[in-house]
């Protein structure tokens, strides 16, 4: 039950993009089409879940054991970078179909501050292994939900008559703002 609450909280109540502003870059950059957005979302779910698990293990069994938790930022970012490369190579060799679906998005993920953000938040909230993974998964699902919704809206507003200076990024941001307001509705979901 508690795990379920963590997942829902991470996905809807404290949505990474809409309330924490993490991962804004791909949110705006890769949300032109629903297909690509869903692909990006899938890749993010994949990487964040694995990254949460690995950073948690490293934090508990290496950094804490050696009493060097102050190195967490530098270790996490390197681990995430290496992980993304590794996942990419692994998928290319072992699961080519999945690689074809997610491949393009993988390199873009390292820079997605949501990954590092989740790893750091897991530590800050002193989550255990399972809670960390669940929190990471929930966060990534929240990202996917947000990016797919906005891509859907963008496909529609493409044909609308938008004031010239609002074309492009501004209208996307306005839409995102309205979505953020809608997501406020979830804040009562969990006490």
């Amino acid at each position: 039950m508690e795990l379920f609450l963590i997942a829902v909280g991470a996905a809807l109540v404290n949505n990474v993009v809409l309330s924490q502003f993490l991962g804004l870059c791909p949110f705006i950059g890769v949300s032109k089409k629903v297909d690509t957005a869903a692909g990006m979302g899938g890749a993010v779910i994949f990487v964040i879940t694995i990254a949460s698990a690995i950073t948690n293990l490293i934090y508990t069994y290496i950094l804490e054991k050696l009493d060097i938790t102050y190195l967490q930022t530098i270790v996490f970012i390197l681990v995430i970078a290496a992980l993304v490369q590794f996942v990419e190579m692994f998928l290319k060799k072992m699961v080519p179909s999945l690689y074809r679906a997610l491949g393009v998005y993988l390199p873009l993920i390292t820079t997605n501050c949501a990954v590092l953000g989740v790893a750091l938040l897991n530590v800050q909230k002193s989550y255990g292994f399972v809670s960390s993974v669940v929190n990471g998964f929930g966060t990534a699902v929240g990202f996917t939900v947000a990016i797919v919704i906005i891509a859907g809206i963008r496909e529609k507003i493409e044909y609308n008559d938008i004031p010239e200076s609002f074309k492009g990024t501004p209208i996307v941001l306005l839409t995102a703002g309205l979505m953020a307001m809608a997501f406020f509705g979830f804040s009562g979901l969990i006490k």
């Binding site: 949110f27 967490q72 820079t111």
Partner: protein
């Protein structure tokens, strides 16, 4: 003009990271709920930017080209952690209010962007001034957005109430949606200015290669892959026909998807 002064002017005015290049949007939106947070985040980033620029410039001949991005990340992450300790010890209230966004400076595109596009090609002295200029430009951007949001969203500036009591604050501005709205209007104003200017001059509008900050943010950091600022942004040459910013943006995002696919094909395992 003296080159150092030029670097400062470039960072603060002509290539201002917030208003012109639209880089580092995540911290921009997250911490600008008040003016003091904006200035704190801006100055913290400035310090890190100066230090990392100088260090990367000093090591630019030592770092092998193929592993340069991981090396930059290590350097930036170290400085971020150092500054984090210093803030925790000597500026605890700022440390509390910036929270998780301090370690996230590591993935701030401005820092890696400057490392890649400037510090790795120029000497220490100029890189330092580039860092100062860009940092101050970022600080000014964050602070002014912070002032705007705090003034209308909370009726105060730097924590002091200045609006008359009868003023009902527009709280939405300091909440998450407000950040999106403020930024949207900011970019719209910028587009408007560019558009009018281009019309007046009667020439094709040239697209700033790093205009769509978020997309460039995604890519500058992409782990030793062969992306450069130009290839990331998709547009290498200026569009030859006259087009509006909206059209150009559309054009550019088309190119971007294509570019990403091309890069993917080119990449070696």
């Amino acid at each position: 003009m003296n080159e150092t002064v030029k670097r400062l002017k470039c960072g603060i005015v002509t290539e201002n990271p917030t208003f012109v290049q639209m880089l580092g949007m995540c911290p921009t939106m997250a911490v600008t709920t008040s003016a003091i947070n904006g200035i704190g985040m801006g100055l913290t980033t400035t310090v890190i930017l100066i230090l990392s620029n100088m260090m990367i410039s000093a090591l630019r001949k030592v770092i092998p080209d193929k592993v340069r991005i991981p090396a930059y990340i290590v350097i930036v992450a170290s400085f971020v952690t150092i500054v984090q300790f210093l803030l925790e010890g000597f500026g605890p209230s700022l440390y509390d209010s910036l929270g998780i966004y301090i370690p996230l400076i590591v993935v701030n595109c401005i820092i890696l962007g400057r490392a890649e596009s400037y510090a790795s090609k120029n000497n220490v002295w100029l890189s330092m001034f580039d860092g100062i200029g860009m940092g101050l430009g970022f600080t000014i951007g964050l602070t002014s957005i912070g002032i705007f949001r705090e003034l209308f969203g909370n009726g105060s500036i730097f924590g002091k109430n200045i609006m008359p009591d009868s003023y009902q604050p527009v709280s939405i501005l300091i909440l998450a949606p407000g950040a999106f709205f403020v930024l949207a209007c900011l970019i719209a104003v910028q587009n408007k200015v560019k558009l009018t200017k281009a019309r007046k001059a009667g020439e094709a509008i040239s697209i700033c290669e790093r205009e769509d900050g978020c997309a460039s943010c995604t890519n500058t950091l992409c782990m030793g892959k062969s992306y450069t600022m130009e290839s990331v942004m998709g547009i290498k040459e200026k569009p030859d026909k006259k087009m509006t910013v909206g059209e150009a943006l559309k054009e550019k995002s088309k190119d971007k998807v294509k570019e990403a696919e091309d890069n993917d094909r080119e990449r070696e395992v």
